[in-house]
């Protein structure tokens, strides 16, 4: 039953956006976040919304999938909106009632702060929905590899990510098994207060750690026996190559950036 858990939130369809180089997607996501923070008017955010909508269309990702990413953050977004709405001082008072005072400035700040948060989440969701975790870690490795000069372990970091991704389903399955085995011995994972529940986790966590360490030892030996000796002199099966679409994507993002800069100057 654990087999159908999708990894991360990757949305496995094929599209021009999915096929973009992960390095480009990572960089463009960062640029996008900068753009979101630069926008200062509702028109600007409307343009950004249009851009996001178009990208989602091109990526074959339903728009509601993007909104789903907002769900866990909805309380923070609402809180941001309300706090800014009520506690921002301003000139133009719209509503004055008891201790509540809503100003135009307050409303605008609340709206922009929440919009930024929303687009931040949507932008990163677009990245993770259209990029598999593996190519994401590939992209990160290559982008970080210049840092090797200062002994930053870019290759090791990416290898760790790959192995973690590989073992998540295995360990999930194992958790399920150990949980059932302890339940068969009368363990109770569901009732009791916080403390007794935390204590009830011990029979689950200890075997899980023991097993994870055993697996790690086995895996290290298996990797060594297949001549693994770090990133040095290593070639790769997957070589990232920039295509025309990558340049088009860069162009589109540049256009959006230009629009938002113009918006900042003229509006």
């Amino acid at each position: 039953m654990l087999n159908n858990i999708t990894m991360g939130q990757y949305y496995p369809v094929d599209s021009k956006v999915h096929r973009l180089d992960p390095r480009i997607k990572l960089i463009l996501t960062i640029v996008f976040i900068v753009i979101v923070f630069m926008a200062k008017t509702f028109l600007g955010y409307a343009v950004i919304l249009g851009f996001v909508w178009l990208t989602a269309r091109l990526a074959n990702v339903p728009f509601r999938m993007l909104l789903r990413g907002l769900k866990p953050l909805r309380i923070i977004i609402i809180l941001t909106f309300l706090l800014n709405l009520f506690f921002t001082t301003g000139e133009t008072v719209w509503v004055q009632f008891w201790v509540i005072r809503i100003t135009k400035e307050g409303f605008l700040q609340a709206a922009f702060y929440s919009l930024r948060l929303i687009f931040l989440v949507i932008g990163t969701s677009l990245l993770t929905l259209t990029t598999s975790p593996v190519s994401l870690s590939d992209g990160i490795e290559i982008l970080l590899s210049p840092l090797k000069v200062i002994h930053f372990p870019a290759h090791e970091l990416a290898m760790m990510m790959t192995i973690a991704l590989r073992f998540i389903p295995t360990l999930l399955e194992e958790t399920d098994k150990i949980m059932k085995a302890q339940m068969a011995r009368g363990a109770d994972f569901e009732s009791g207060n916080l403390l007794s529940r935390a204590k009830a986790m011990v029979p689950l966590l200890v075997p899980l750690f023991v097993s994870a360490f055993r697996r790690a030892g086995d895996l290290a030996m298996a990797m060594e026996s297949r001549c693994y000796h770090g990133g040095e002199g290593r070639t790769r099966l997957r070589v990232l190559k920039l295509t025309r679409n990558d340049w088009i994507a860069c162009g589109a993002m540049a256009a959006l950036l230009a629009l938002i800069i113009l918006e900042g100057i003229f509006l």
Binding site: N4, K177, I178, K180, A184, G186, V206, P207, V210
Partner: protein
């Protein structure tokens, strides 16, 4: 404590496109003191079935009755019923977690709410059942033991709950012949001495030929045969058709019978064949 399974059906991922039927209208009844083998290849539904017998999985439809009471009924004390049915999973040594062997074995009895004295008595009893010397092993860390010993500690952890029915999923998987013989000998003894009902899932037909008094054969979530080893091992064609072997002795018997030798059809243990073959040889050399 008899167990009755009636029209048990279980579907995974019910209501989605991934819906798979793991058990399909399974019915049987297990009486006190039986030693039942459940055989079938991987994916035949054995493990799903076993998890129903102790209430870890709930039927999509159908019932599991323990001592006449529906294990999933509304007013049933499930935990109390569960205690009577000990379940040993595959590779049970992976569930050990305590600092000492004794503490780990005590986990089950402790959950049953027994007193310290009772728990201690249970631990000693269980260790004796699995042939682990209390003096020598009780205070050792389970993680320092050999694989076979760890498995015995894990089985003791279930036996300490004094179940009247013991269910084991592949108890000998991954063990060498010595470890396997230890476990099987221990089960045989437990069955004879304590009159514990045993249900054992296994791939090894030879182990089954040696121990079980009844075999339930599963394929594609269904029970395809249910009978004594004699009856089951006579049906070589049926067994082959669902991807299972029969013991070599049974195969030898079938081959020789097909050639025209005068042998009973229902031999499946080497010692039975030995006598028959000696008879044939002596008759042959007599004339």
């Amino acid at each position: 404590m008899p167990i009755e399974v009636s029209h048990l059906t279980h579907c995974y991922s019910e209501g989605s496109a991934l819906r798979t039927v793991a058990l399909d209208d399974v019915s049987f009844r297990i009486e006190n003191g039986e030693f039942v083998g459940i055989i079938g290849h991987t994916g035949s539904g054995k493990s799903t079935l076993v998890q129903h017998l102790n209430g870890l999985l709930k039927p999509t439809s159908g019932q599991v009755l323990v001592d006449g009471e529906d294990l999933n009924g509304e007013h049933v004390n499930r935990r109390a019923l569960r205690q009577h049915i000990g379940l040993v999973f595959q590779y049970p040594e992976y569930q050990l977690f305590e600092e000492t062997v004794a503490k780990d074995i005590a986990f089950g009895p402790k959950n049953q709410g027994l007193t310290a004295a009772e728990i201690d008595e249970r631990v000693r009893y269980a260790m004796e059942c699995v042939h682990l010397d209390y003096q020598k092993y009780a205070e050792r860390s389970p993680f320092e033991l050999s694989g076979g010993q760890m498995r015995r500690v894990a089985i003791a952890g279930v036996l300490a709950m004094k179940p009247s029915v013991l269910i084991l999923d592949e108890p000998t998987a991954g063990l060498d012949p010595r470890g396997r013989d230890r476990i099987l000998g221990m089960l045989e003894e437990l069955h004879a001495r304590e009159n514990v009902t045993i249900l054992m899932v296994s791939h090894s037909m030879d182990d089954m030929a040696r121990l079980a008094s009844r075999l339930i054969v599963m394929s594609d979530g269904k029970v395809v045969a249910d009978g004594t080893p004699r009856e089951i091992f006579m049906q070589e064609d049926m067994m082959t058709s669902i991807g299972l072997d029969i013991p070599e002795a049974a195969r030898l018997c079938a081959r020789l019978r097909a050639k025209g030798y005068d042998l009973p059809a229902d031999l499946f243990r080497p010692e039975q064949l030995k006598e028959q073959l000696l008879r044939i040889w002596k008759e042959g050399s007599a004339c």
